[in-house]
């Protein structure tokens, strides 16, 4: 059995060793009492959910304990009542980090108050937004923080069984979780009579099998129960009637990773970070055409500019920053002139995007916004479960329209048709996936309507990205190096050595190989028009 004394002695021996080693490697520095990662990239970050990532060894439970791990669980089980934990989380105003931002404490409270012989807590680790890998990092680098968060949730609501539903595309996360669960059981931190308090709690891993919609709560439960991941209509709250008809709470990975820290440091501390309505931090996966891609955890309310430019270093290769997409297929594209928007649930909602789970995809001048909308709709069409009419039929039609617009076959009225379909799909779909699927179209239409119009009326793609609408052309600056002619897969470039080369437009497949290999500097001789 695990005891406080044992944890204290682990901490005493191990922590100085780890810190010494990491300082020796020049990886970390001390910020007050905190051990934080060193470097420019981390200066503006405040790490709560990621606090142990790249610091502790995720395959060694003792290292987690050495960094205050499982102390929150110990204190709660020995000194606090379940209701106290619920109150603490309610007071912290922690909001779900999976996207919608529902107050976690209220969820817990619902389940806590509902009497039942069995209750479940599920960790939603089915992170599926393209361009997002926040949860993956936590699961791989600090799995115990999630286990401890779940145990605390279990104690709070009166559940003895947790499930982690993790997507199969994350084999490393699955492995690390398996190790972590095994070790936690061995150390008596999962299983029966934890800390000798009589509290039982265990966790089982369940794997997804490639269905984005299973990130939706009811679909996730259907999947665990062994059915097609089709969302259920919510007649009753999940906190009352959930998995196998029992009260269930579902929390996202990052949310759960916040819980032990909040319990350890108190809700006042937590509310001192971030904004009034969205306290704490948020982890973002800063990706796309950005100079320093990677995970960042920053206080809520930091502006997009600080995240993308101060931390991310702006657009890559000196290109012009154009937009950032937040919230994945449910979110929206935020144009450059709104770069000073603070990032929190309310502010992003006001500009038609959403916080989402934390994907932040940076786009530059060469990104076509119609094409991006098409990309997300394609995703939604592929991932629609097919149950409800608006999502199954409507997203398909929206995709078809976007597809023909990007092929230069758009017709008068297409924009209006997209708007009508968006309205019906978002207002009438069964689950969040359908209700938010039109968002990428709605926001790009709002901020980049002219790009749609250019495609439809002028048959041109302003970002020079849609193949059917562009032409490759060789300028007079051609030095006749013949590289383009050699690279052309359809041999449609002709020209003698040291003479101007010419592309036969009728044969060109617009693969861009000529452009890629052209060595002329600073401006390539191959141009795209």
């Amino acid at each position: 059995m695990m005891t406080k004394e044992r944890m204290d002695s682990i901490k005493e021996v191990l922590k100085p060793k780890i810190v010494e080693k990491l300082i020796g490697e020049d990886k970390v520095e001390l910020r007050g009492d905190e051990v934080v990662l060193k470097g420019e990239y981390y200066k503006k970050q405040v790490r709560i959910a990621l606090k142990n990532c790249d610091i502790v060894d995720p395959t060694n439970i003792e290292e987690y304990i050495a960094f205050d791990g499982y102390y929150a669980l110990y204190d709660s089980l020995t000194k606090k009542k379940p209701g106290d934990i619920v109150e603490e989380i309610k007071n912290s105003l922690l909001r779900g980090r999976g996207g919608a931002g529902f107050p976690t404490g209220r969820k817990w409270d619902e389940a806590y108050r509902y009497q039942a012989d069995k209750k479940y807590i599920i960790c939603n680790a089915d992170e599926g937004d393209p361009g997002a890998f926040m949860d993956r990092s936590i699961l791989e680098k600090d799995p115990h923080s999630v286990l401890e968060g779940m145990a605390l949730g279990g104690y709070a609501i009166g559940s003895d069984q947790g499930y982690i539903y993790v997507r199969a595309e994350y084999p490393m996360a699955v492995k690390r979780l398996e190790i972590a669960i095994k070790q936690a059981r061995e150390y008596g931190l999962l299983g029966e009579n934890i800390f000798g308090t009589g509290f039982n709690f265990d966790i089982e891993l369940r794997l997804g099998s490639g269905a984005f919609v299973c990130g939706e709560g009811t679909a996730l439960m259907e999947s665990i129960e062994g059915r097609r991941g089709m969302p259920r209509p919510k007649i009753h709250r999940t906190a009352h009637v959930g998995l196998w008809g029992k009260p269930t709470i579902i929390n996202n990975v990052e949310t759960l990773a916040n819980v032990p820290v909040i319990i350890n440091k108190g809700y006042e501390w937590f509310r001192g970070i971030g904004t009034e309505e969205s306290p704490g931090t948020k982890v973002f996966a800063l990706v796309g055409k950005v100079e320093n891609a990677g995970l960042v955890e920053v206080p809520m309310g930091m502006t997009l500019r600080e995240i993308i430019f101060d931390i991310g270093g702006g657009a890559q290769d000196g290109k012009e920053y154009k937009a950032v997409q937040t919230g994945g297929p449910s979110g929206g594209c935020i144009p450059a002139d709104l770069i000073d928007t603070p990032v929190d649930f309310e502010s992003l909602g006001k500009i038609w995007s959403i916080m989402g789970s934390g994907g932040m995809v940076v786009m530059d001048e060469n990104t076509c916004m119609v094409d991006i909308a098409k990309f997300f709709l394609d995703f939604s069409v592929e991932e629609s479960c097919g149950k409800c009419v608006p999502c199954r039929e409507g997203t398909k039609r929206m995709y078809e329209i976007l597809d023909r617009i990007t092929k230069g076959e758009g017709v008068e009225g297409d924009i209006e048709r997209l708007e009508e379909l968006s309205e019906t799909v978002s207002s009438a779909s069964l689950c969040g996936l359908g209700q938010t699927a039109p968002n990428p179209v709605i926001t790009t239409l709002k901020y980049y309507r002219h790009e749609y119009e250019d495609h439809i009326h002028n048959k041109s793609c302003p970002a020079k990205s849609c193949k059917p609408l562009i032409k490759y052309f060789i300028e007079d600056t051609c030095i006749g190096c013949t590289r383009c002619a050699k690279a052309c897969p359809v041999s449609c470039i002709s020209g003698k050595v040291k003479e101007l080369h010419v592309i036969d437009q009728s044969m060109c497949i617009k693969c861009g190989a000529c452009y890629d290999v052209c060595p002329v500097k600073p401006i390539k001789a191959v141009s795209i028009i």
Partner: protein, 316 residues
């Protein structure tokens, strides 16, 4: 069980607190359209036709899956609702073949009814349509997946009988379809031709093949009869024209009545002058058979014949 009072389209309803808004509305004669709702089936929430507006919320809500609450004020036919319903029907029509003229279900098709009610029309477009996958393998059921609206009623009703459970959804998204067994033909699948699925199908995706081409819903009279084959007493409809009985079809199962092929054939035999030949499934093949074999009464008939013969001989 407590009761609550709510207002639906200006009418006051006093109903059990366990009812949904849709049930409450229907109880006071307000017909909220729904393609996937059926009071005998699990609430599915797929068609989204039953959306209503409830004061205090901006969101449209499906009345089939919203429980009534005291003081609720519900509107079921606002402009916003009508326009959304029209769009939903339109989406279904855009994937549906335009053949109401010859469709067996014409006249009793819910999709047709709602298209009329909300003024949605077939239209030409270059987008995808549901693929034509006609399954003609069964003499009892004709399946046309291109007409399927994926309301799920057939799957759910088949699932209710524990030793049947032959139907399921397969694939997902726009490719979703209803399959028999592991995507088999009706003949190869374990389907027992009870026609429960046909009886609940709101469109022409599953039709009674023995009725096909003979008579349609509006083209004659129907009488409801009770099957006498066993104590369940399932209901069938006898279709007639000019006093001649033309076809017998299963009525939707209710109150635990299971429906079965034997009962259907017995009812046909009883009411029809010239019923089609009976078929039974042997080793995943439908084979034409005799009525006594189809009804499983060969031995009984033989015995009756023998006894009658014996009686006659005794008399002589």
């Amino acid at each position: 069980m407590s009761t609550v009072k709510l207002t639906i389209d200006g009418k006051v309803a006093e109903v059990s607190s366990e009812l949904t808004v849709l049930q409450a509305a229907r109880s006071i004669g307000i017909d909220i359209p729904a393609l996937c709702y059926d009071e005998t089936l699990e609430i599915f929430g797929a068609c989204r036709m039953c959306i209503v507006e409830i004061e205090g919320s901006n969101k449209l809500q499906t009345s089939c899956s919203t429980l009534v609450k005291n003081g609720m004020i519900v509107h079921t036919e606002t402009d916003r609702i009508k326009s959304t319903r029209k769009d939903i029907v339109q989406m279904l029509l855009d994937s549906h073949p335009n053949d109401c003229l010859t469709c067996q279900k014409s006249g009793e098709c819910l999709l047709q009814d709602y298209a009329y009610r909300y003024d949605a029309n077939f239209r030409n477009h270059h987008g995808a349509m549901r693929p034509q996958l006609m399954d003609t393998s069964s003499p009892y059921i004709l399946r046309d997946n291109s007409k399927c609206i994926l309301c799920g009623k057939c799957v759910l009703t088949c699932y209710q009988v524990s030793d049947r459970q032959v139907l399921s959804f397969s694939e997902r998204g726009y490719d979703t379809k209803v399959v028999f067994g592991a995507d088999q033909t009706i003949e190869e699948s374990p389907c027992v031709s009870c026609n429960r699925c046909v009886a609940v199908c709101p469109v022409g995706a599953l039709v009674d093949k023995r009725q096909l081409g003979k008579i349609r819903n509006w083209d004659g009279n129907t009488t409801v009869v009770m099957c006498k084959a066993c104590e369940y007493g399932c209901e069938f409809e006898v279709y007639s024209r000019n006093k001649e009985n033309i076809a017998v079809t299963a009525k939707a199962p209710s109150n635990g009545r299971p429906l079965c092929l034997k009962g259907r054939l017995a009812t046909e035999l009883k009411y029809l002058e010239n019923p089609d030949k009976p078929y039974i499934k042997i080793n995943e093949r439908f084979e034409e058979t005799t009525w006594d074999k189809a009804l499983g009464i060969t031995e009984l008939i033989e015995k009756i014949n023998r006894l009658e013969k014996d009686n006659k001989e005794e008399e002589e």
